[in-house]
């Protein structure tokens, strides 16, 4: 019987997504609306949208699954996802908004005035976006399979279709509404069942939850302390480079609003992350047979039925399933939006909204194929690898690009290739299963500890060795990044001398002006 409730809940979420997206389509009139929601999104709405987009399958299902499987050390995942936003706020948020860059390639070209750097960054953005999309689609497949017995591929294909339609139709403005709505849906979908679960636990005489989890815990790593540090470095520094996170900052009206938005985001995702550990801990108690293999990701979904049972359990389970689907849809929409934006600007021959709509299915097709081919990775782990690649490539580029005047294009290329390339290679080797134990496995599975310093060092050393290549517009770019809005007097030569700042910072240029001509 519970299947019909679940199907209803998932259908409602999918329909609501399409309807809210359609509502956005009606008011999404201009190209500016389409790409950046006309940069008029207020902090409260924007913060809910950013949080809705950010809380992915890894947060909704993965965290509880990992806590259930490996114990409280896994709580570093949600802490890292949150702290990543703090680091983003501290070093990147306001300057990135003021840079006028719409995507990371825009930022790279605007700051370094180099087409080569732009192309390399585009490759990394598309790669990281795809790496992050695969687990979202797999999570969707898993959810539907467990709850309704649908075949493995069905959930992923469903999410892919809905996302392509919503993104291609309404663009950023409609996505903003969809995602703000989905944050509150996700919070409700975890909060309400959690309250009932805690009541049920009280009613059962508060059985002791084995917090220590030493027994029956599947060994996670040969070197758990190193793995924890690898996780901390990757999530703290990787958040700022995730393609869907960066795009969102451009929808703020100005740098100051971007900063304030980020603080609200921290509060919102912090509030959300109080919940998954509850599921992890209670899952130990009520779903004890799970901890073998990927299915730990399903703990959140099965818990209401097991702990409460009856009609109430079914209804709460359906609510959780709806929330999980909101998680897949919102993160996948944001990623697809970002990847399609880069594909439109840097890969497809011409630009404009029509080509953006053509790029959307392309942005989704590759990860969909990947999710059907590769399977068996816990959701939070594969997301962790996207973070490691981002932390080793985009973090040095953004931090040095914003704060260091001596960065040169060759330096940026060296850092991206060495830091990001090595992290990516380590990911590929880990996924292929060539190295399975000991220090080599630990070093490859959690590469951020060494690959982030490699990225920074390569960028700094090569930049210092190529002093002659410092872009002429560096000082103007720094002024633009850091000058508060009250002091900007607009389109005089000072602010206009750095071209290729992405789609039209203040001066009304084309959507892909960096690539024009």
């Amino acid at each position: 019987m519970s299947q019909s409730y679940t199907v209803t809940a998932v259908t409602v979420v999918v329909l609501a997504t399409v309807l809210v997206g359609g509502f956005g389509l009606r008011i999404s009139r201009t190209t500016s609306d389409f790409y950046v929601a006309s940069r008029t999104v207020r902090p409260a709405l924007n913060a809910a949208a950013i949080s809705g987009e950010y809380l992915s399958a890894a947060s909704f299902l993965g965290v509880a699954g990992l806590v259930l499987l490996h114990g409280p050390d896994m709580l570093w995942y949600p802490v890292g996802y949150t702290a990543g936003y703090l680091v983003l706020l501290i070093f990147v948020a306001a300057p990135l908004r003021r840079s006028g860059a719409y995507t990371l390639p825009d930022f790279a070209e605007g700051r370094l005035e180099s087409r080569a750097v732009r192309r390399l960054v585009s490759v990394f953005v598309v790669g990281a976006g795809w790496l992050y999309l695969v687990p979202q689609l797999q999570g969707a497949g898993l959810t539907l399979k467990i709850l309704t017995g649908a075949p493995d591929w069905f959930g992923g294909v469903l999410v892919a279709l809905v996302v392509v339609v919503a993104v291609a139709a309404g663009g950023m403005r409609s996505i903003t509404f969809v995602q703000a709505f989905q944050y509150w849906l996700k919070l409700t979908a975890l909060l309400v069942p959690a309250l009932f679960l805690l009541l049920a636990w009280q009613g059962d005489g508060r059985p002791r939850v084995d917090l220590d989890l030493t027994a029956a815990v599947v060994g996670r790593a040969d070197h758990p302390l190193y793995a924890t540090y690898g996780l901390i470095v990757a999530t703290f520094l990787g958040t700022m480079g995730l393609p869907h996170v960066v795009v969102r900052f451009y929808t703020s009206p100005n740098g100051r609003a971007a900063r304030r938005t980020t603080v609200i985001v921290l509060a919102l995702i912090g509030a959300f992350y109080l919940l998954p550990p509850v599921y992890g801990a209670l899952g130990r108690l009520y779903v004890p047979e799970l901890p073998y293999g990927t299915d730990a990701d399903a703990a959140v979904l099965l818990l209401p039925e097991r702990a409460i049972g009856g009609l109430g359990g079914d209804l709460l389970g359906a609510l959780v399933a709806g929330g999980a689907f909101a998680a897949f849809l919102s993160t996948a929409s944001g990623l697809t939006m970002a990847v399609a934006g880069v594909l439109t600007q840097d890969v497809l021959p011409s630009r404009g909204v029509r080509h953006f709509r053509l790029a959307t299915p392309l942005a989704m097709a590759v990860p969909l194929g990947g999710s059907l081919l590769v399977s068996g990775m816990p959701v939070a782990d594969s997301v962790g690898m996207a973070f490691a690649v981002s932390a080793s490539s985009f973090c040095p580029l953004l931090v040095l690009g914003i704060w260091w005047r001596r960065l040169t294009p060759p330096g940026a290329i060296a850092g991206l290739l060495l830091g990001g390339g090595l992290a990516f290679a380590a990911t590929v080797i880990t996924v292929s299963g060539a190295v399975r134990s000991g220090w080599p496995h630990a070093l490859l599975a959690w590469p951020a500890v060494w690959s982030v310093p490699v990225g920074f060092l390569a960028m700094i050393l090569v930049s210092l060795a190529t002093r002659g290549r410092i872009p002429p517009g560096t000082n103007a770019a720094m002024t633009r990044f850091h000058l508060p809005e009250v002091l900007m007097s607009g389109s005089r030569k000072g602010s206009a001398s750095v071209s290729a700042a992405g789609p039209g910072e203040g001066t009304g240029s084309g959507t892909g002006m960096g690539g024009a001509g």
Partner: protein
């Protein structure tokens, strides 16, 4: 400003405007503002001082974060107390992170206000 359209193109390509509408903005009213926009040595010094104060605020917050995040795993490994891990990582971390963010934003905005006051100190004669 990205360069002329290629000569073989018959007509200039239709550009889609995503920028904010261009507003007629006032010319700089203060000398330091003009210096910054003209990118003189003095204007450059102004911007560098702003960047230094902002970087100091950021590094202070980051150092605090790094210190705590760097020592906690070691502390947990020596304590071997799962309840402490639950309390710190499951609950206490989030309000503290938000507080630190709030502190940073206040300081960064104060830096910008101070800078604006400095720049506006001397009107254009």
């Amino acid at each position: 400003m990205t360069g002329e359209p290629a000569s073989r193109q018959p007509a200039p390509r239709r550009e889609v405007v995503t920028g904010e509408p261009r507003r007629v903005r006032p010319l700089p009213r203060y000398r330091a503002q003009a210096e910054i926009e003209e990118q003189t040595a003095l204007g450059d010094a102004y911007v560098r001082s702003l960047m230094r104060s902002q970087l100091r605020a950021g590094l202070t917050a980051f150092a605090l974060l790094a210190l705590v995040a760097g020592t906690l795993p070691l502390a947990f490994a020596t304590l071997r107390d799962a309840t402490a891990v639950w309390v710190v990582l499951g609950f206490a971390a989030y309000p503290l992170l938000t507080l630190l963010a709030w502190w940073y934003v206040r300081r960064a905005e104060r830096n910008e206000r101070d800078f604006a006051r400095l720049v506006k100190g001397r009107p254009v004669p």
